[in-house]
Subunit: 194 residues, 2 copies
């Protein structure tokens, strides 16, 4: 009796675990298949290439992260600046629980794929844009409410904050130390978003 | 007649080109050998593993970068803040010439190796520390001369600046846009190092 065809989602979820833990280039399709117990045909029924699969995994990561972010940043909030800080603190807690590993998959995929694969790069570009726009809404709201007086354009500020965040996560990962994340929180919330 | 044994440096220089262009995991030892025309024995005469070779490549990258940095940040300078800005602007020019690719090899190796290989992670940790210390000297000097009044600890500030830098480079690479780097320069030099 043929094995039931493994659902696309199961493959993508497994890909998320493995790519997030070890990177896109270090994990082969065979490993994904072994981890899910799926036959090769099942994979190629859903995805033409590893690259296409990688994009589906990245999309799942992004969707889950944006959902997580929306739990902290709400359009009607009366404390948007605190919400932004709580959002970053929540990711830091997760990151610490994971022993300062894995970081951010947008950053990881940028390193591994942006130069080599134009389709991935465009997708990453759009995701960074979407993420920055969501943060910029929070910043704009905080400015409306007088929590932030800094008059730099909200999207520009938001890109600066996310750059600082991505880099702090990267250096914290190399150092297995929370110091870069603490420096990020202190400087961003006491000197930039003021 | 046996081929002359290829010099260690030639291998490491070739590794730097290939790993920087395409990443550590995407480039195999055989490709390095083909690019240099070296026989396999020559490689294993110098390096026991690909990981050991990767560390030599990373060290060369770091040494070259620190040499480059010292051309901008000089201990006796009377304009340390301007020198720091000129240093970042010079890397941005290089990065633009390379079509917004490659980024920073410390960041790239962190993504690919920090979680999987403790020896690489420790080396990256030490390199980020050395780099931050060099920048902190410039910041401390700028403070002595009254160019910077921000009283945050110089090393903390320096880690914040380098985080912002690493992340801006990463996002600029995904977006093929100088906007994150411009946001970095504007905010760091007008709001943080002030």
């Amino acid at each position: 009796m043929p094995r039931p065809q493994l659902h696309r989602e199961t493959l993508v979820e497994q890909g998320l675990k493995l790519f997030y833990a070890r990177g896109f280039n270090a994990v082969g399709i065979n490993e994904i298949l072994e981890a899910t117990g799926a036959p090769k045909g099942s994979f190629y029924h859903h995805f033409e290439t590893k690259g296409e699969f990688g994009l589906a995994v990245l999309q799942l990561y992004y969707d889950l992260h944006m959902e997580f972010m929306r739990r902290y940043l709400k359009p009607e909030s009366m404390t948007p600046k605190q919400d932004i800080e709580a959002y970053f603190q929540a990711i830091i807690r997760k990151f610490k629980r994971n022993g300062f590993t894995q970081g951010c998959m947008l950053g990881n995929f940028t390193v591994e794929l942006a130069d080599a694969d134009p389709v991935s790069r465009e997708r990453l570009d759009a995701m960074f844009e979407g993420w920055a726009a969501a943060l910029a809404e929070g910043i704009a709201r905080a400015r409306q409410l007088g929590e932030i007086r800094n008059r730099t354009d909200a999207l520009k500020l938001s890109i600066f904050v996310l750059s600082g965040w991505e880099g702090a996560l990267l250096i914290a990962r190399a150092r297995r130390s929370a110091a870069p994340l603490d420096a990020f929180l202190t400087t961003i919330f006491n000197q930039v978003l003021v």
